[in-house]
Symmetry: C2
Subunit: 406 residues, 2 copies
């Protein structure tokens, strides 16, 4: 009880800009059906042009555009039907001057043609002859052989998580395996004499089940990481150092969910200082002040506040961008947001980022208060709003942007 | 080439409101570490109060609040230090009148105490005596035994996907298994004589690799479903009916990625009509007009347009909400959005929903045009904007909301 923490407080934006570990996870090859959300380690270049052939984009007739010039409902062009193209097969006829070939959407354009007239602007009134009632320009109704992707063009850019559309483009290009960064392994160490595993059926006096580790594991998974629960360590420097050393051999990021007492937090800072370099201890953030950022043996380390709510706020703001960065993704993918009107005045200290949990009803954001020891504040929240560092608060009725929990 | 499609076009909002299959997936029990994003099938009630004991929320001294009334820096209250409470253990002393007990954050409040004074407002100037320099009210510095959750209160509400915070609350309550809806199995049937598997090393003339199925599988996975690739069927009614019958025995939703030709689309509609009831064929949507919604043997069925871009637009708008609904979640979780200024005028037909792919640079949304046969339009896009049914277009410079692809 005699200790006082030494805070060299930094703003959150300082921490995000300044604490930038060089570590990146190794590269591994994954099949396309397991690649969603994974971060490509290298650019992927198109091995061939796509679609690879001149392709009709409409159901209609392949023509020489010049043969349709001047055509109208009143004075159609009459073209000789030279044949048709089957889907998925090479054309067996070409379009002669004054002729046309029937093509379905997606078929190969026959030789000689430079445009396709939509079936809607044609009529087959006499056998072997097609009436064209509208002129087309060269290039109408088709895509070029390299219009989707040119051979050698970049299909996929390194560092950007793969989305569904990219999976489609890779499939189209016949790329079945992708080199991606391994999922960052995030070791989660829980500390505290009072903390027991969630599986504990009956609690003794003063014990609490480890809620933070399970919630952190969820956030790690959402950020594309692989959570590794490293267990619960009592408030004992030697024990914590041993678990920390072990975690550092295998993890890409170590997260310590510290005990809530000042003694526990002191032990954590001491153990971390013994194994690496503390970059900052203290963020100008509420909740989340007693946050610790360090690097040990080339592994970044994040020491979280003891209260579950505070720990989760800090991990969202600081930990999630770190997990993405370790996987080679510099820009954290966006979260859902919504705008709402604030239901009441919110006070805030200048120079500090305030994270306020809110419920949203009918476009009104209602702040949820309560000690950060209470996890139910988070489960009742639809999202959070940020009162930025320079502000001294927000007025009731002002429009705020709320980041929504998914 | 002679067929014309018969469209009974509906608006997208009509389709979302009106096409509401009753099917829900079965319930299964999953462990907490596999429950992220899953949809609880029933409410979960707290088996006991949380935290379960009166708990200090600060490092300090447990007191009888009345003993601190009138205390100030100039005129402190002096209280006898009766002992201390260890983390995670039952107190061995109570707070007598005129006394106090040292408590760390998170410890059990000793008997007799009704408040905790923060250590910052105390001094230990004489052995066995603590100076209190600020008064506290009853209830200060603590949470009640049932303040996080009361025994019997609802921890988790059915029908809402589990977020990280809920995983934490369930862990705190000692709930290790959760009854959730099974992931909806979504059979994806690709059709088209021109379509070949993505693994095809060299394409013959007119062939294209199946891009849509891989991209759809990604969207299904994001929506919490389990994609089942049911293979590629040629444009043949009998073959399609056979694959459809097989898929209907096992799937919760069947998606047909139709061939692009009008013939292929006719075969699809015919096969579906033979096995079930078509709810609508045609949406007032661009791209995405030739969409088919049906129900066959109690399984909803979605027939997508032949172009990959159109197919993915329709699946996002109509398929994703269906997948969530099948898993018991009525409100589709929000997607990330951002506001941007439109770079140019956009024309649109009244009565039709237009989905426009956009790139965003420095707050400006630049529409991406190109035939919907081109998947690269989607991979270049950061998101899409919606021109609603009543609008005839949007003006350059107007503020638009863009849904961002993750």
């Amino acid at each position: 009880m005699t200790g006082r923490e030494f805070f060299t407080a930094r703003t959150v934006s300082d921490a995000l800009a300044g604490f930038r570990p060089a570590r990146r996870t190794a590269t591994e090859d994954v099949a396309l059906d397991a690649a969603l959300g994974r971060v490509p380690a290298v650019d992927i270049v198109a091995p061939e042009a796509l679609p690879g052939f001149r392709r009709s984009t409409v159901d209609g007739y392949a023509v020489r555009a010049a043969d349709t010039y001047g055509a109208s409902e009143g004075l159609p062009s009459y073209l000789d039907l030279a044949g048709s193209v089957r889907m998925g097969a090479a054309p067996t006829v070409a379009v002669p001057a004054g002729g046309c070939v029937a093509v379905p959407t997606g078929a190969v354009l026959p030789g000689g043609a430079d445009a396709v007239v939509m079936v809607e602007y044609t009529a087959a009134t006499m056998p072997g002859t097609i009436e064209i009632t509208r002129p087309v320009a060269p290039g109408a109704g088709l895509v070029r052989a390299d219009e989707d992707v040119a051979a050698g063009a970049t299909l996929i850019t390194a560092g950007r998580p793969l989305r569904s559309a990219e999976l489609g483009l890779l499939a189209a290009a016949g790329v079945g395996m992708v080199a991606v960064h391994a999922r960052p392994r995030v070791a989660i160490i829980s500390t505290g004499d009072e903390v027991v595993p969630p599986s504990t059926p009956t609690l003794a006096a003063g014990q609490v089940r480890d809620a933070t580790a399970s919630a952190l594991a969820g956030l790690v998974t959402e950020a594309g990481g692989e959570p590794v629960l490293a267990g619960i360590v009592p408030d004992d420097r030697v024990a914590l150092e041993a678990v920390l050393r072990e975690a550092l051999t295998d993890a890409d990021l170590v997260v310590i969910s510290a005990g809530s007492s000042v003694g526990a937090r002191d032990e954590t800072a001491g153990a971390v200082a013994a194994l690496g370099t503390i970059w900052c201890h203290g963020l100008a953030l509420k909740p989340g002040k007693p946050t610790l950022l360090a690097e040990c043996c080339n592994v970044p380390l994040l020491g979280l506040p003891g209260n579950p709510l505070s720990a989760l706020v800090v991990f969202r703001l600081v930990g999630v961008p770190l997990v993405w960065r370790l996987a080679g993704c510099e820009v954290t993918p966006p979260e859902p947001t919504t705008r709402a009107r604030l239901s009441r005045d919110l006070a805030s200290a200048t120079g500090r980022l305030d994270i306020v949990q809110v419920r949203i009803r009918d476009g009104v954001a209602e702040p949820l208060f309560g000690p950060s020891a209470l996890l139910s504040v988070l489960t009742r929240a639809d999202g959070y709003l940020v009162v930025p560092e320079p502000a001294t608060g927000l007025d009731a009725g002002s429009e705020v942007e709320v980041t929504l929990y998914r």
